[in-house]
Symmetry: C2
Subunit: 291 residues, 2 copies
């Protein structure tokens, strides 16, 4: 899906909601597990049917499929076939795989997600550098979604790291320039490698104090924003700080939506939660005259 098509999808649906298909077999309703051979696929199919008019994107998280072995991989393949052929599509798809490997291996990962399963995008870990990203940004309409500042506690360990000496010099008045944190260096480098048509950035909603300056550095790129919902990030705050004139945001919500209920009507409960997010997003899009 091209950038222009993604923007049109967001305008049509009045939503920049991304639904995370973190389909943990142990958390889906018992009756689905008992009645179906492929409960993960059945669960996903119902969630998709109940929410696809409210969501701009879906993001299956590979960890929950791989933990079921080759059977889980089959559930994922079927889910992607279903999503890509849905009459209420097209919808943007993100393989939340966080891959990152040397060039030859990275090409094989790109093949797995882009060619075999027809994902629009893959989340990519930048630590191994340019050749690990390259295969994900060379096909028109396909995207690398690069981890920049994640929403988990461990983001502090390396992403937020910055040299201490310049801070000290700054306090002494010797140095005035703000010294960059590691995630900023990564993003600046990635801005050289990709462009707003083939690269997005993961920016966690749990660090609202930083999202505004990230938007200043990357005014036109889409951000995939995890951390709203269970992790405590605020949809309003993130949207007001980082929405640009093309929207430029995909806000991911996973467990809050898909595990809203374990009853027979879990899909309708999921729809209710998704609908509340969509309504809030519609208001925020209106504030920017985007719908």
């Amino acid at each position: 899906m091209t950038r222009q098509e993604l923007i049109q999808t967001i305008r049509n649906k009045k939503s920049y909601l991304c639904i995370g298909l973190d389909t943990d077999l142990e958390k889906i309703p018992n009756w689905i597990r008992e009645e179906f051979d492929d409960p993960i696929y059945e669960f996903n199919r119902r969630i998709i049917d109940a929410t696809i008019d409210l969501a701009a994107a879906y993001k299956p998280n590979m960890a929950f499929y791989e933990s079921q072995g080759s059977k889980g991989w089959q559930s994922l393949e079927k889910t992607m076939d279903y999503l890509n052929g849905h009459p209420l599509g097209p919808v943007f798809t993100i393989a939340d795989a966080k891959r990152g490997d040397i060039g030859n291996s990275a090409s094989h990962y790109a093949k797995a997600f882009f060619e075999n399963m027809h994902f629009d995008s893959v989340t990519v870990n930048p630590y191994m550098g340019h050749d690990a990203l390259q295969p994900f940004i060379t096909v028109p309409g396909k995207w690398a979604v690069v981890l920049v500042l994640t929403s988990n506690p461990g983001a502090r360990d390396f992403q937020l790291w910055q040299p201490q000496l310049p801070l000290l010099l700054g306090k002494l008045g010797i140095m005035t320039e703000q010294w960059k944190r590691f995630y900023e260096l990564i993003m600046e480098q990635c801005l050289d490698w990709g462009n707003p048509e083939n690269m997005m950035f993961v920016v966690g909603a749990t660090r609202p104090e930083m999202i505004q300056s990230i938007r200043e550095s990357a005014p036109d790129h889409f951000f995939l924003v995890p951390g709203v919902g269970t992790q405590g990030g605020s949809l309003q705050e993130v949207s007001r700080q980082a929405m640009n004139s093309d929207c430029g945001l995909l806000i991911n919500v996973s467990r809050n939506i898909i595990f809203a209920s374990t009853g027979r009507d879990f899909d309708q409960k999921a729809r209710e939660v998704a609908h509340a997010y969509q309504q809030e997003m519609e208001e925020l899009l209106k504030e920017k005259n985007l719908v």
Copy 2:
């Protein structure tokens, strides 16, 4: 497999060779593709039979299995069953997956590799910090193999990065302390989180000028060393600089061994190359009185 068992395996086989099962379907012999329903598994099985007395470890690279979809994942499951039940085992196994995700997802990846496929270890990307590593170092006998300094060209982009100001101050004689590169910060932090019984480090053979100082920082940890063979690293040089009193090395060779020939006798040709490596390793182990 515990550290002591790994050391014993190396001593028994007089080898610290790790064979990379980068089983690219397009590179395996035509006749295997034509004659078998599961050519990837058949190829692996023959490579394993021909080399298992010469290798301390095997390292399947997930990219080559995932690019074949759920069928590729099945080939991997069968390969692991075969390896784990081999009469000439046990042998150390590494899932070259380079995973790294938030805690809950990381736990599911750990389940996929440790519980379902009985791998001894998984390569892990540290960018997301402590919670991304934790699930891989909590089970006795299971290991996280953390990416520190990789062998690819892109390693320059972020891993080797260091702040420029202290370099400048150093040149002016104002600062004498060597400022750390990013991979050194990562390794130091990981040394706090794991120990030589549950954590190894990936250190590429293509940067021999750095491997010695990495060994000084982590005297007891095992290093998984890619980059010997096709990528140009030297077995002799790496071994002399980084072998410790328990060996402490697993040197990976992939394509040079498994794709030594595309003929009917590809497995015997693979054996010949693996045997040459083993012989060289035996000499290097003797220099250290390890065999």
